[in-house]
């Protein structure tokens, strides 16, 4: 298991289309929702709303799902140049809070060609420390050949 937050992936090997065997499961990783990560996220998307709270806890921004959903399969790799995000689903099952450490894991759901372009769909799940499913992210990307 690895910790993905803050990891720079540019020196990692490329994740090639041939590597995406349907059913392949990637190593689980932890994803820490730190105050710094949330502040950086909110600054990046110009989100100036007051943070949403529930009791004494602060909800993690829903858009963070896009980050762990991608890092789950790129924790030890990088996308080859020219890869393009084609589609995405994001499901919210249980809230995540600032301070939580999520357990994230990705699986290759499908690999196919359309109009002679290679596509792959990767599904990632995140559970909180109580074992509750927080979210599911499905990324479909056009992979460079």
């Amino acid at each position: 298991m690895t910790e993905a937050n803050g990891e720079r992936v540019t020196d990692n090997p490329e994740l090639l289309y041939e590597d995406l065997e349907p059913g392949r499961t990637f190593e689980p990783m932890t994803f820490a929702i730190t105050p710094g990560l949330v502040a950086d996220y909110r600054a990046a998307v110009a989100d100036d709303r007051p943070p949403l709270t529930a009791g004494a806890r602060t909800l993690a921004p829903a858009g963070l799902w896009g980050i762990w959903g991608r890092q789950a399969y790129l924790q030890h790799h990088r996308m080859p140049g020219g890869g393009i995000l084609a589609g995405q689903d994001m499901e919210y099952h249980s809230p995540a809070y600032v301070g939580d450490v999520l357990l994230v894991q990705a699986t290759v759901a499908a690999r196919f060609e359309r109009k002679e372009r290679p596509y792959a769909t990767i599904e990632s799940t995140a559970h909180n420390e109580a074992g509750e499913l927080c979210g599911v992210v499905r990324v479909t990307a056009i992979w460079p050949k």
């Binding site: 993905a4 990891e7 720079r8 992936v9 540019t10 990560l37 950086d40 996220y41 600054a43 990046a44 998307v45 110009a46 989100d47 709303r49 949403l52 709270t53 529930a54 009791g55 806890r57 909800l59 921004p61 829903a62 858009g63 799902w65 896009g66 980050i67 991608r70 890092q71 790129l74 996308m79 140049g81 020219g82 890869g83 393009i84 995000l85 084609a86 589609g87 995405q88 689903d89 994001m90 499901e91 919210y92 099952h93 249980s94 809230p95 995540a96 509750e132």
Partner: protein, 160 residues
């Protein structure tokens, strides 16, 4: 009978009244200015340093002719719009589905989310609202991102 986990006192936080969620209801828009600085900031926070997004000179030679914003930035805007509309219950009852990136979003654009409720149905014990959602270039009206959102209004199996 399915039961969902309890989420503390989320219900005490602001939510859109369920009675206002009906076919035709409009999702309040979120509008944002896109800059290269925003794109670079997203690259830093996400680790997605694809040169199409962050290398201006490289991107000029690409089929896009310049840098483009990460698709995940638009997803963040759509999430913000849904949470502004529905409150924290989105975090346990919402989903974005089939989101497609149909046109590039470039630095200098002002983009706007838009959406509306297109159906409310009973689905396996849930009352579910289906919405069309999109992100448009506010300057030209061009659609850049399209998709759907679903929101479970209530579990009909749960006791009142």
């Amino acid at each position: 009978m399915r039961r969902r986990p309890s989420h503390g006192n989320l219900a005490q936080v602001r939510e859109t009244p369920m009675s206002t969620i009906e076919v035709g209801a409009q999702i309040p828009a979120v509008e944002k200015s896109i800059s290269q600085e925003m794109i670079n900031a997203w690259a830093d926070v996400s680790g997605d340093t694809n040169p199409l997004h962050v290398d201006v000179e490289y991107a000029k030679t690409s089929r896009f002719g310049g840098t483009i914003a990460h698709g995940h930035i638009s997803l963040g805007f759509l999430c913000e719009a849904m949470v502004r509309w529905l409150g924290p219950a989105w975090h346990s009852r919402g989903a974005l589905r089939g989101v497609k990136f149909v046109a590039p979003i470039r630095p200098g654009y002002i983009v706007r989310t838009q959406g509306s409720v297109v159906d409310v149905v009973d689905d396996d014990g849930d009352r579910v609202a289906h919405c069309d959602i999109s992100v448009i270039d506010a300057g030209t009206g061009e659609t850049c991102v399209v998709g759907a959102a679903t929101y479970r209004l209530a579990d009909l199996h749960e006791a009142p």
